[in-house]
Symmetry: C2
Subunit: 522 residues, 2 copies
């Protein structure tokens, strides 16, 4: 396999020779119809408003071939060690995709293992929903609270919020989330929850995550204080690895397993997302979600980038980052239900590709992952879009839109529904960013030429949400291949942990650390 | 007054001559104690981990003098036309500060006007809280829902969430917010609210904001459908300008006024924030909040930047942006209650300073406002901090921390409280970003040299929150002075509005717009 650095490839050298397409000029109806690739789950990816043309796309195709992006994805699926820093396989796709081959580790068929956990979750959820399993004081479980942080929080939370309105009256349980070690986080959630009808999910792969264990203690303390008759062990399940200290504890009603081959930020389709989402929505919705992701995973195996949306998106992203030198990407969903989806993508992308050495540990002489941020439209239009339109930097944009709302409560005002207004705004923004508008008053002038792409579909359903998730997971993976980095470790989080322990144990000999600790009341 | 462009000043030319301080080396206990400036409300600003030294600070002081930053702030307070593009005064400080002179417009004493509105809100809120005013079916009002977008949403929402835990059992009314024109936003809020005990606040200065009027109609439709006996006009108040079509409507129980001299993103201390926050928390908490802001406003008049935190922060920001060329700033509050404060600052900063022409409309040859993003710590540590530590770009950081939690529910686990763990993490991060750590394994190496500042205090109270808000409002204002731009208009939002109207009225003759509209189901 070709593990060359991006700047050493012939295709990248060639790519830099072309002038970018002038988005102001080229955004035509024909181009919008043509530059459009289906994902799974009824979703499509449109890149008409990106500064690319046929020769640039051909060069990107060459780059993909030269760095064997699709071959590397196949190696992921085959179970090769694609997380070299930690010497691990990368198997999150197996939580949803039919694998062509069998990945076995220490005698364990990995796909069977993940599927078995989801099956166990489904059976458990049915007992909860039917009332066969009740709280320790005899009440039906109505609320599920996930205690976890990072990938055990952002993905599941974003997905829950994305589908809550879709589920509507069919919502089986309300889900809430506690993540931050700040005691005010747990207090705000626990303070207005009926603990007798609450099931907690403790999520920590290692079973040692400081924040998560601290919040577990807070929850246990709270339960004992509020109602001494309440038996906490009948109100808490664990999602952890089979080797963690939590796995064999009697403190849990049940435990469901993940393993080291699924990184936190890639764990939404594993038991980390599966437990809370199956409890909240029931097994059918979670299965549809997995199905949408699996369909989109399959598209990512297509060698032609004109038919492979995550690969095209990844390549255009590298073009924007490494040829045009744009350091930021904004994610702008025109769907309030996706309110926390940008926060999940922020982790997915920045934790995966915020690296400055290649997979062999050699320093890189080119830029890697951009900063990701975003808020739903139209809200963002009344906030930070001013800078996107008229600021001194160009920020590439990724729009997400749907033809229909999730809930059937829309009304017609002045001849149009609110959904139509929403999408008229989305359409207008894409064109305004691309084409700009000349005005003799320089204050009201818009330069245009600001690139964007659009992911769109009929409606935000479990299937289209799965497609969106898979698209971004695979885009980020492909970009890691292009930058020749390891997208599956996160050594950058370690130093903070080490220094935190030094402070808490009083073993630091750094005067700056101690002085800062003092002014913060430690 | 000197309205020269930044790059034409002698001080900026001089500033560029100095080498930045090496944060890895200079972060000492002595420096942490020295580089520390009080705000109001018990808050302080520490800039020890910024790449500045005495000679750079002196040059920044010269720059502040040369561009007359404090004099320009005084001109704001005097009521000069400091929003030249729109020919308006900039008067949001008068909502909280004692003005030394009287600002009069068309015979109206502006400070009296703003104060009178807040007094009227207090009297109205007392009637609601006491039950003197009840819903149209006789129920006490228990919930307040603000309908507004942009500055009518982000600031009030962030402030409500910041103080909800502080208020605890003294919370007078639960507040909720509807902003997005996406009908799913209103549906999600209205779907689980008891409308008979709900008071709506419609917030639109012009009275013509598309999203806000659409959501008002949705709310009215919902009320009529759910309960035909419910009289919507007894469940809705307006916050608007005295000249808007809403001001004289019979559809409202009462109306409270703002005017054109307070921009949306600066309106949190006006009736826009005052109505919802006084209804939620009562008048005392809102007064304490204004008091904290007023104290910090006064500090911003100090000519010595070593005693003027927002001015120092603004100048260091310009140094990071225009000398060191960093295009992004992250806001990282170690307080879960500040979960949406970065989103408010994102609007405040990016909408104010995302401009590419100066106050006279001349194109600028230097960078202006950075992209702002952020999430609370420790959550962010398990998400995007990987890129902050080991990514290929340096991202300046602004930390916020408090010695104590808001709620008294903390527990001691393994010898330390969770608040102590939280602040140990914050301390560790500042040092880790600044100093880095050498490791022979390049994957585990941290270059350090990543700048940060710290805003900190005893506890997140109404007063310290007011101080934080004032600090950032004045920082953004000072940066606008330094970049010689108008921080108080937002012409960049107009083009999208124009194109949206064309699509909705079918009057567009742009094929790209129509084709995009078609694929989005318009």
């Amino acid at each position: 396999m070709n593990y060359e650095n991006l700047d050493k490839t012939a295709a990248f050298t060639n790519l830099k020779e072309f002038s970018p397409a002038d988005i102001k000029q080229v955004l035509t109806a024909e181009r919008i119809q043509k530059m459009d690739i289906p994902l799974g789950g009824g979703m499509r990816y449109n890149y008409a408003a990106q500064p690319v043309n046929e020769e640039i796309i051909n060069a990107l195709q060459d780059l993909s071939h030269e760095l064997e992006c699709v071959e590397k994805f196949k190696a992921v699926l085959r179970g090769e060690i694609m997380n070299p820093g930690e010497g691990r396989m990368v198997l999150h796709h197996l939580t949803r995709m039919e694998s062509e081959n069998t990945v076995v580790f220490e005698g364990k068929n990995q796909q069977d293992f993940y599927k078995k956990q989801q099956k166990r979750i489904e059976l458990f959820a049915e007992k909860i929903h039917s009332g066969q399993l009740k709280g320790s004081t005899g009440k039906m479980f109505k609320t599920v609270i996930q205690i976890g942080i990072g990938g055990s929080d952002l993905g599941p939370r974003a997905l829950y919020l994305a589908l809550k309105g879709y589920a509507g009256d069919n919502l089986k349980m309300e889900a809430r989330f506690i993540s931050n070690v700040d005691p005010d986080d747990a207090a705000s959630v626990l303070g207005d929850t009926d603990l007798e009808s609450t099931l907690f999910i403790l999520v920590s792969k290692s079973g040692t995550t400081q924040e998560t264990l601290a919040n577990r203690e807070l929850a246990l303390t709270w339960m004992k204080k509020k109602n001494p008759e309440l038996d906490p062990s009948k109100h808490m399940i664990a999602v952890t690895s089979a080797t963690s200290p939590l796995a064999t504890s009697d403190d849990f009603l049940d435990s469901f397993y993940i393993d080291d081959f699924i990184g936190g930020r890639y764990s939404s389709t594993s038991a980390v997302g599966g437990a809370v989402l199956t409890l909240a929505f029931g097994k059918e919705i979670f299965r549809e979600f997995l199905q949408g992701a699996a369909e989109t995973d399959k598209k990512a195996l297509e060698p032609s980038i004109r038919e492979n949306a995550p690969l095209m998106d990844a390549l255009i992203g590298v073009y924007l980052r490494n040829v045009l030198d744009y350091p930021i990407t904004a994610i702008l969903p025109y769907s309030q239900a996706l309110v926390r989806f940008p926060a999940h993508l922020q982790q997915l992308d920045m934790e995966s590709n915020g690296k400055c050495v290649n997979r062999n540990g050699e320093p890189l002489s080119y830029k890697t992952g951009p900063v990701i941020f975003g808020e739903p439209g139209t809200n963002g239009q009344h906030s930070f879009y001013q800078l996107l339109h008229q600021g001194t930097d160009v920020i590439p944009l990724q729009f997400i839109g749907f033809r229909k709302p999730q809930q059937n409560t829309d009304v017609t005002i002045e001849g149009t529904t609110n959904q139509t207004k929403l999408n008229a705004n989305l359409t207008a923004q894409i064109v305004a960013f691309a084409k700009g508008s000349n005005n003799s008053n320089p204050n009201k002038n818009f330069n245009g030429g600001r690139p964007s792409s659009l992911l769109y579909g009929e409606k935000l359903t479990p299937g289209s949400l799965g497609a969106l998730l898979s698209h971004y997971e695979n885009k980020v993976m492909f970009q890691g291949f292009l930058w020749n980095i390891n997208s599956f470790d996160q050594e950058g989080v370690q130093l903070g942990k080490v220094l935190t322990k030094q402070i808490l144990s009083g073993s630091s000999n750094d005067a700056a650390l101690e002085t800062l600790g003092e002014i913060l009341g430690i």
